[in-house]
């Protein structure tokens, strides 16, 4: 009996190319539809699985909502539709519905034995595509594919509408092609949609083997340029044409920008929406960050380690941070450099520090500073839980982001800033450390700060959050992700802002509550939620990555999450990395989401610790992942390189090698992944 997630039941088609657009290839459709079923009742789960298999769908079952979420996050494009029960012990079905809607935007069908009007209405208001009354008959399941098709249709329409008139006629055609080819690669409707939106031009995706046209890969740099342009114009006035003009990227079409903008807007909306739910919403976002945190740190190696190590001493770092001018408005070179460095560190694309990278060279000294900065961030929080939390949230976010992509971090920082700036100020005022007002590049600073904060967060959080952490219900994991998510509002704020902002943003909706979440999430690495958070964080970060000004982390944008995962898995020189990896591992192990006791409670959470903690649990799997990742990614490029992989690719790359190692997780994750793209 398939009680836990991780068991993938593959029906006929392989996951990777199961899906063909209904419009184009109707013969197989809807066979091969990839369904994720979430129900705590094993009897129902088994029956549904059998029924869905009989419908020739590809079924994956989960008896825990968190496991389902992590599966979804790990395998963003691995599912077409989700079936979830309403009453579940670990998470309310409607909450899960919200998360999925926010993060993955998959069609979700709710199920319940309760057919009361209010329950069904709740499903409607929460955005469920359909509501099935138990006991479910197979006839009801035979038609669930319609929701997938409908959603795709609507998305397509939306995109087309959002785009400008020109070239639009080209889109549909391409989309069709892209859809098919991409689906083959990625096997998801989402991908199809995405590909469809992203036209040729730009870099070619490795994984689009069947794709006739190269699609634009939104690298970190590209995204950063995009974000910069958007910020310059103002998010409300950012029109694709203008953005395109500002970006001055040859070969980029208005369409590319339009579709990217659409996604960016959705992302921002989600972040702001998420911020409304401190506990719940924050979590999913936080987690990815956390996860991101791990990998990023490893990538950067140096600074992260330092950071991580320093993270253990938040106070110290705080001092250093302050010293380095983290909290100061006028960016010291040292600070900015560290920021940059950090950022670069975090971003996979180290050499491409975009913002002013010259400072990179000064990296050594700054690295210390950076470390300090990072540490400082959390430390700031210490004086004030709120502050720290915020900071940590921020750094955390950034960290995560960093891990995953620098962009994420930046974004985190940026977002932070955008978020109520006053918040930051408040925070700044309240916190002992000044909210950094470094005018330096936001992205840059964002990253380091984020990273730092992230790291600190982790460390600090646990410390601060020891108490807080306690309160965290499973949701905490999500809190961690907040950082990333919140940073969406990319504003060219300086690093300090970011730091503050991130914390703030993370806690926007509910400072106190949120912080707790953040804290809890932070704790996640060390705490029970780690695996969950990490994965979430990664996911979050991934998605956020493109939001954030990653230095190149921003690879396939939305698939960042996977990358992150991958990144994390990639061998990270830093111990921090280890930490993250472990957290990642935790995430990876999400398949079997285990409520772990907060490992870090009571001890300084440093990446190292985290890593160790996790390593013990996940070490082997992490190792495997790392190795596999390392293999696939050329070391020189590090994360950056990896970023170019689609999540799926990365994941598949990672997963494949570790398949042997990975337990249910791998099983689960392999589903639908296309391994083609991993450039080796």
């Amino acid at each position: 009996m398939n009680l836990s997630c991780g068991k993938v039941s593959l029906s006929a088609s392989s996951s990777s190319c199961a899906w063909k657009s209904a419009e184009m290839v109707p013969d197989r459709f809807p066979a091969g539809l990839r369904v994720l079923v979430v129900d705590d009742d094993p009897t129902c789960l088994m029956i549904l699985e059998k029924m869905l298999k009989t419908c020739q769908y590809e079924v994956t079952t989960c008896n825990r909502a968190e496991i389902a979420l992590s599966n979804l996050r790990n395998n963003r494009n691995g599912f077409d539709v989700v079936l979830s029960d309403v009453h579940m012990p670990d998470m309310d079905g409607f909450k899960l519905l919200e998360y999925i809607g926010l993060e993955m935007d998959l069609p979700v069908i709710m199920m319940s034995v309760d057919d009361g009007k209010h329950v069904v209405m709740k499903g409607v208001t929460h955005g469920a595509c359909d509501f099935l009354i138990k006991p479910i008959r197979i006839e009801a399941l035979k038609n669930i594919w319609q929701h997938v098709v409908r959603k795709r249709k609507n998305e397509r329409k939306e995109l087309e509408q959002s785009g400008s008139a020109e070239d639009e006629d080209q889109l549909p055609k391409h989309s069709e092609d892209v859809d098919y080819s991409s689906t083959a690669n990625e096997g998801t409707w989402k991908n199809v949609k995405r590909r469809k939106d992203e036209d040729e031009d730009g870099e070619e995706r490795d994984d689009t083997s069947t794709l006739k046209k190269p699609r634009v890969v939104w690298s970190v740099e590209l995204h950063q340029q995009f974000v910069a342009a958007v910020n310059q114009l103002g998010i409300d006035k950012a029109f694709p044409k203008k953005i395109l003009e500002l970006m001055k990227v040859p070969g980029l079409t208005r369409e590319n920008v339009a579709s990217h903008l659409q996604k960016y807007r959705l992302y921002l909306r989600r972040l702001s929406g998420v911020s409304q739910h401190p506990a719940g919403a924050g979590n999913p976002f936080l987690s990815p960050q956390e996860a991101a945190f791990g990998p990023i740190s490893s990538l950067n190696g140096l600074d992260l380690q330092a950071l991580v190590a320093s993270g253990q001493l938040p106070t110290q770092s705080l001092a250093t941070l302050q010293e380095s001018g983290f909290g100061r408005p006028s960016p010291k070179s040292g600070i900015s450099i560290p920021v940059l460095d950090q950022r670069s560190m975090f971003s996979f694309d180290n050499p491409n520090l975009r913002f002013g990278e010259t400072q990179q060279s000064q990296h050594n000294p700054s690295s210390n500073k950076q470390m300090n900065l990072l540490h400082g961030i959390p430390t700031t929080m210490e004086p004030k839980q709120l502050a720290t939390l915020q900071q940590s949230a921020q750094p955390f976010g950034s960290l995560n982001v960093q891990v995953i992509s620098q962009g994420a971090l930046s974004s985190g920082s940026l977002i932070q800033i955008t978020q109520p700036q006053s918040r930051g100020q408040t925070l700044g005022e309240s916190s002992t450390t000044h909210v950094p007002r470094l005018p330096s590049n936001v992205s840059q600073s964002a990253l380091p700060s984020q990273v730092a904060s992230g790291i600190m967060l982790r460390n600090g959080m646990t410390e601060n959050g020891r108490g807080l952490g306690q309160n965290q219900p499973p949701q905490t994991s999500s809190t961690i992700s907040y950082s990333g998510s919140h940073t969406l509002e990319v504003t060219p704020n300086s690093y300090p802002l970011v730091a503050t902002a991130s914390t703030l943003s993370a806690f926007t909706p509910n400072k106190a509550g949120f912080q707790e979440n953040a804290v809890s999430s932070v704790k996640v690495p060390g705490v029970s939620m780690p695996s969950y958070d990490m994965v979430d964080d990664l996911q979050q970060i991934r998605s956020q990555n493109w939001e954030f000004q990653n230095n190149g982390l921003l690879c396939n944008g939305y698939q960042q999450g996977n990358l992150l995962q991958g990144n994390i898995n990639a061998p990270m020189p830093l111990p921090v990395h280890q930490g993250f990896s472990s957290s990642q591992i935790g995430g990876q192990n999400r398949g079997r989401y285990v409520a772990r006791k907060p490992i870090f409670t009571g001890e300084p959470v440093n990446a190292l610790n985290i890593g160790q903690q996790f390593s013990s649990n996940i070490h082997s799997s992490v190792q495997v992942k790392l190795e596999s990742l390392a293999d696939t990614v050329s070391p020189s490029h590090g994360l950056f390189y990896q970023e170019h992989f689609g999540q799926e690719d990365l994941m598949s790359a990672l997963l494949k090698p570790q398949q042997a190692v990975g337990p249910p997780d791998s099983e689960f994750e392999f589903d639908g992944y296309s391994v083609d793209n991993i450039p080796v």
Partner: protein, 151 residues
Amino acid sequence: MEKKQQLHRQVVMMRQSLFDQGYVDDQFVQLEELQDDTNPNFVEEIVTLYYRDSARLISSIEQALERSPLDFDKLDNLMHQFRGSSSSIGARKVKAECTQFGEHCVGGNGEGCMRSFQRMKREYSALRKKLEAYFQVARQAGPMDTASRSN
């Protein structure tokens, strides 16, 4: 052959009585239809799983019923899960008692809950016996052609 035919007839009769006596409803047929070569004993497996899993639910309800004062929300919750399970295998009478129990919970009727629960347990055990006997004969009889499995 004769023996086989006899067994087959017995299976058919037992199955029919399950429906006639209201032990199971149409959902049971759904399960039967899922049974195929890859899962030749699917129905029996599901029922076994159901009884195994619901045992802990029932004991949880029992424990909750011993508390004082009664936590009706919790009871309702537990019973809700149990009802979902029972309905998914087509356990008609059990499901009916679960619904009753739920209504008593909503009404804050502790006595009613107790009574419903006792009745539910009786139905639960009776169904189990019936199904076990049925499966036993069905296994003995071996695969039957679909014609004999009329609804």
